[in-house]
Subunit: 777 residues, 2 copies
């Protein structure tokens, strides 16, 4: 592990290096990994994601700039976000020779992402019979002006000669499911270049405008070239030995779903960018990131890898999330088009908690998106014979179900498989209710409940009542034919996770109704009229909440059965069933995959329940952890984090750390395939990224809210000398600092109120502004 | 069709000939068809079934004598009836040469079954350098003494010479699923031979005793030979040219599930047989058959094939049915061990109606069997989390579920398929309730209801209430996750057939409860105590009966949807989906067979509903017939009869006749495979046989009971000059005779009461003993 690296760098994993707890880099270029490294080094700002690729690359190297709210369906295929024309396109020649990673002798190669400031850097030295140049580039997606990309491309010539720079826009983009552009018009706009394109299905106009500023060298010639879907400016410059040429390049992106005149507005913005200059834009961008980290950073001392990976994952959660708008967080964020740029339950359960306690306005936005897509959820419910809001399993702009009925292929027969994520995986609706309640609990934002939350609660409760069945002879409600989080087992009854979530959602809906009735009967009256909601319906929810069947821990074994009949399935392990594969590409689940008739789980399910509900004692947690962990394949990137959190709660610190690192590494040194059967399934696993916050705070720090007070129960790994982070609860900020078994809670001095917390005595105490309290040893 | 045949014979199909409307014969021996012809020519008496094989054959030629109530499981395989040692075993040599169908020149070969008298005959002339003999044999299973088999084996020598006869018992029997005999003891018992054997699982003792009487020839030598599992007597006789030797052979079978000392009792019986002699035993047997046909025969004039096939199917239904005991009717009767010798819904819905209106005591026996197996049905219900009686899909001696969870194999992957006949095909229980009610309706046997029926009704209702779900938001009960008759579609909701049957069963259970309460509160009280049954439960049944969802005919199309979502499946045909097969042996159904995601049905489902419930007008019948028929694969032998019956009701006489003949031919000139993938699946399709009665009476004659009165609505094929049969209704016999559009109803002169019937005026009239009425033109 201790081979010689550049100053300050140490090894993270495989080719990945780290530095200062903030920088991830590679100093070896592996052509075979470009599909993965493009994700590893990506940057973005929640409005767009830009893959960590090289300026001279194109579609074959998976260059992508994925822009929010550009959903489109091409040629009857899947709905997905557009990969817009690449405005950061630059090619370099020196003395007539192409300068890139595949030509000449390359030395001092480095690509690095600076997580602290969202900067992607690349540098290398190129030696050839034609001469020698050093190239270094830096680019970013502005955190202050979200439509803006900026690039600083520097060439230092070791010999005098001729530098040719092609800088422009490449509209020949990589796209997973069909070409989304019915038209693509490159144009010269004064000193600027532009490509305007119109999407196929929804005729969204997208404009990408580019402008440059060159310093150094001596310009001999300049021309504009349009070819196919590219437009670029060709600069020929003479350069002296030792001279540096700086190309400062700006890109503005606009589309007609966000403004009226995309191209015109982009041109105006770009002229402003040129006026402001690279340094000013970069400074504002860096300051914005400093501010974000001020509220979001998690500091780990004594474990540089854990520190760096934690920030990598926090960074990914931040840049994946369209905090600026009411739009979904994609399951692969903005790292590529995979998974349709659409939200799953991941959004509320894995991505949202970090925002909830660090940037509540962003959490509010996430939930506002669910409010705005109630129409789609209502349409789904109706289509499937229910009432209320059955949220889409795969939710894009409108909230209509995007998940197709036939998702996978049976590789053994070539026949499509009818999966039922779109009609049976009903926990999505109570999961959203759960998140709304937690938003309210963490922010006291009752106004949000009045304006949006109540309607969602009521429509979700309505759906749950319609979905559930009253089993008369047992005098209880049951949930029949569903999928829990463990997707290998479809068509099950009374999935523990789903049943507990359903009860919770119904109870909160009833509470909101009762509370509104007492506090704001006019608002309630209007809402009841809007929804044609009767008191009888609410009585029904009360009844269902009281009588819904909750699988209980067995008195002897303490085990909670994942679903009815689970324990009667073949008791075996992931390793054993893998030997039964006839083809490595086989889907393990429904209808007849290798896991279906066994107890092998794709991912945490009962264990996931424990992450969300703190009602089970340690003995139960431990028994279930011990039982379910060896039976879990972790076939989902959501899985290790749940095990990490519950291991922490049990006090299984080593297990917690092992799962924590497994989760943190999901997107670094990815060992999974990014392309399978010709389909790109790579990109950033945004939910796993979001879960880093949960694993450190809820897991290692043992954070929970009980009785409107903070509770901590820290169990950090022995080799961590310090774990620290900042949170907000009901508008009051505080720092948490854990050293050994001791936790120090420090209220921000500018707080307006005391913060209730559980002190060592087990009583609720109040932490005044600026005050510090110690919990634990 | 008019090639030259022996006198009186005409062609039926392929090699099959017919004569006198009673005899089916073949005059060409096809070695390839022995597995099928063994079933075609079988005989039996409801206690045992004996395949229509040759005396000299053994296990390789599928010789079998299947005996009721000998259930056994060998080597952990399937539970099935035993094929007992073959007591009718005879081998013949002439002048040292084996005489059989494979040696010498064979002429004048004929094998025939005389349906009228249950006699299997075989004859042939054998010519060889060693000489010439004529052989003719006749055998039967006595209809008066059910444990008795008899054989008359005649040899006429054309030359003088030496006849060697081996006659004895062959214990080396064919068995589908393992060897059922842990011991097998051949013994000589004075003049008799015996084999006693003990079954593997349940240690049932089975005795087969054989004795012979030889006439003609001159006995030169006689010895007893035991070898392996055979014991036989070797007779060497001298014979003159033209002389006939008659071997008259009797076999007695007894087992320890029916008597205490099987061998001793069989010996006594056999000695009596020898005393009585062949002719006396045969005469009694023939008379018994005459009596059966007196009440059961259906006469068709103008269509010899239809007449012969009708009798063939009635015959099979009679000999498959253990009218002597409370035992199931096997799905393959007693023709072989296939389908575990166990009852399905076939028994009540397809086999029972004929008995109900011709031999009500046998119908009572069928239902008594269901009473006796309530324990198994209760165990099944409990195991699956219900209450009451969930009858087994495959029901043997105890009524415990015999249907395995993994039934078929996926031939494309070799993986077992989890089918759910054993847990989701719930219509079996209401089907039995339906049959009990019809038994009561046809017989007025309230005493049966008091003693047995009420308990079954209540336990079935209990199960149905436990199985059903109350869908609160629709204020209705639903049946979720089941299979209807169409087994290609598992995991469906609200299957029309099952829902209507369930409502019917609940209504009748409530009626029985109310009626018992009013008429026999003591008996009811005892039963309620026995079952711990409360009035609240009965109120629940009332509620469920009133509120169960019944899929209604669409107001416009008149179509009833087979189950929720059926019409949304791919609309295609059996022929189209067959082109998608990757292997001809693929199972078409669950979980991913070619029919699953399409509207293609295995068998009549909504159409079957119309067979049982007369509440739908012709317009509805016709619309559904027209829709479902082209989508039906008739992959079950139960299917054509339902289409025949409903076609008759609509007045689609040609369609009715086509389906009638298709059903009648299921077991004659069988084009299906009898052995598939090494597993024997052949044998007699007993339900299709039973349905011949339903097709002629309910179908062509339009028979139904309404308001406790007979109703007829005849639609017979144009080329039938006459259709006539005898029935009993509430103890009163009557003849039905249809000629053209006219139906004559003639009450038996010895009736004790008038028979109510719907006259031409649409009013109920009464038919006095001996009186005749005309219905129709």
């Amino acid at each position: 592990m201790n081979k010689e690296l550049s100053t300050g760098f140490s090894q993270l994993k495989n080719n990945f290096l780290m530095k200062d707890g903030w920088i991830i880099a590679e100093q070896v270029f592996d052509k075979e990994q470009i599909v993965t490294t493009g994700s590893n080094f990506m940057f973005g700002n929640g409005y767009l994601g830009y893959r960590g690729t090289f300026e001279e690359w194109g579609k074959d190297e998976y260059v992508a700039c994925i822009v929010t709210d550009t959903y489109d369906t091409a040629d009857g295929k899947w709905n997905e976000l557009c990969n817009v024309p690449n405005g950061l396109f630059v090619k370099l020649q020196f003395n007539g020779e192409q300068v890139d990673i595949g030509s000449g002798d390359i030395s001092d190669y480095q690509r690095s992402i600076d997580l602290r400031h969202g900067l992607l850097n690349r540098s290398f030295s190129w030696q050839h019979s034609a001469g020698q140049v050093e190239v270094s580039t830096e680019k970013f997606a502005s955190m202050t002006s979200l439509n803006t990309l900026a690039l600083h491309y520097r060439i230092t010539a070791k010999n005098s000669g001729e530098v040719t720079l092609l800088s422009g826009i490449d509209g020949d983009v990589w796209s997973l499911n069909g070409d989304h552009f019915q038209t693509m018009h490159p144009s010269q706009e004064g000193e600027l270049l532009a490509i305007t394109s119109t999407t196929k299905e929804l005729a969204t106009d997208i404009a990408v405008v580019e402008g440059v500023n060159i310093q150094g060298g001596s310009l001999k010639n300049e021309e504009v070239v349009k070819q196919d879907k590219q437009i670029f400016r060709k600069f020929v410059l003479e350069v002296r030995a030792g001279e540096t040429i700086s190309l400062m390049k700006f890109v503005e992106i606009r589309h007609s779903n966000e403004c009226d005149a995309p191209k015109a507005e982009a041109i105006v913005a770009l002229q402003q960018d040129l006026e402001n200059g690279y340094q000013k834009i970069k400074s504002a961008h860096q300051q914005a990131w400093e501010d974000i980290w001020g509220s979001t950073d998690i500091q780990i001392e004594g474990d540089e890898a854990a520190q760096t990976l934690t920030r990598f994952n926090l960074f990914q959660n931040i840049i994946a999330t369209p905090s600026h708008a009411s739009l979904p967080i994609g399951a692969r964020g903005l790292s590529c088009q995979a998974y349709q740029g659409a939200a799953f339950w991941d959004q509320e359960i894995f991505n949202m908690p970090m925002f909830l306690y660090t940037a509540p306005a962003a959490a509010r936005n996430i939930l506002k998106y669910r409010y705005d897509t109630l129409g789609g959820a209502r349409r789904k419910a109706k289509e499937l014979g229910y009432e209320g809001a059955y949220y889409a399993w795969i939710s894009g702009k409108t909230g209509d179900e995007l998940c197709p009925s036939f998702f996978f292929k049976d590789v053994l027969t070539g026949r499509p498989i009818r999966n039922h994520f779109n009609c049976w995986q009903m926990h999505i609706s109570p999961d959203i209710a759960y998140a709304i309640w937690h938003y309210y609990e963490a922010t006291d934002d009752w106004q949000f409940i009045v304006e949006y939350g109540a309607e969602m609660f009521f429509e979700i409760a309505r759906f749950l009542f319609a979905f559930g069945f009253y089993k008369s002879f047992r005098d209880r409600y049951e949930l029949i034919r569903l999928l829990g989080p463990d997707e290998y087992h479809e068509n099950v009854d009374n999935n523990a996770f789903s049943n507990y979530q359903t009860k919770y959602a119904l109870e909160k809906a009833c509470y909101v109704f009762d509370h509104l009735k007492a506090s704001n009967s006019i608002a309630l009256g209007k809402l009841m009229e809007k929804l044609s909601l009767s008191e009888q319906e609410v009585a029904n929810w009360h009844d269902m909440a009281a009588k819904i069947y909750l699988p209980q821990p067995d008195p002897e074994t303490k085990l909670i059965e994942q679903f009815d009949g689970y324990f009667a399935l073949e008791d075996t392990t992931p390793a054993v069933i893998k030997t039964r594969l006839q083809d490595p590409g086989e889907y393990h689940g429904w209808p007849n995959g290798i896991a279906v008739h066994t107890q092998v789980l794709k991912q945490a399910d009962v264990i996931q329940l424990f992450c969300l509900h703190d009602d089970f004692d340690k003995e139960i947690l431990q028994a279930n952890y011990d039982y379910y962990e060896p039976r879990t394949e972790h076939g989902s990137s959501l899985s290790p984090s749940a095990y990490a959190i519950v291991a922490s709660k049990i006090g299984y610190v080593d297990e917690a750390y092992r799962n924590f690192m497994k989760s943190c590494f999901v997107d670094i040194a990815n060992t999974g395939k990014a392309v399978s059967g010709g389909t790109f399934i790579g990109g950033i696993h945004t939910a796993a990224c979001g879960s880093v916050w949960n694993m450190t705070t809820v897991g290692f720090a043992g954070f929970a809210i009980h009785d409107n007070a903070l509770r901590f129960d820290p169990h950090i790994p022995d080799h961590w000398s310090r774990l620290a982070f900042h949170m907000k609860y009901k508008g009051q900020g505080f720092n948490v600092e854990i050293t050994g078994k001791k936790l120090e809670l420090t209220a921000d001095s500018d707080n307006s109120a005391a913060i209730p917390y559980f002190s060592n005595s087990g009583e609720i105490a109040n932490l005044a502004p600026g005050e510090r309290a110690t919990i634990g040893a």
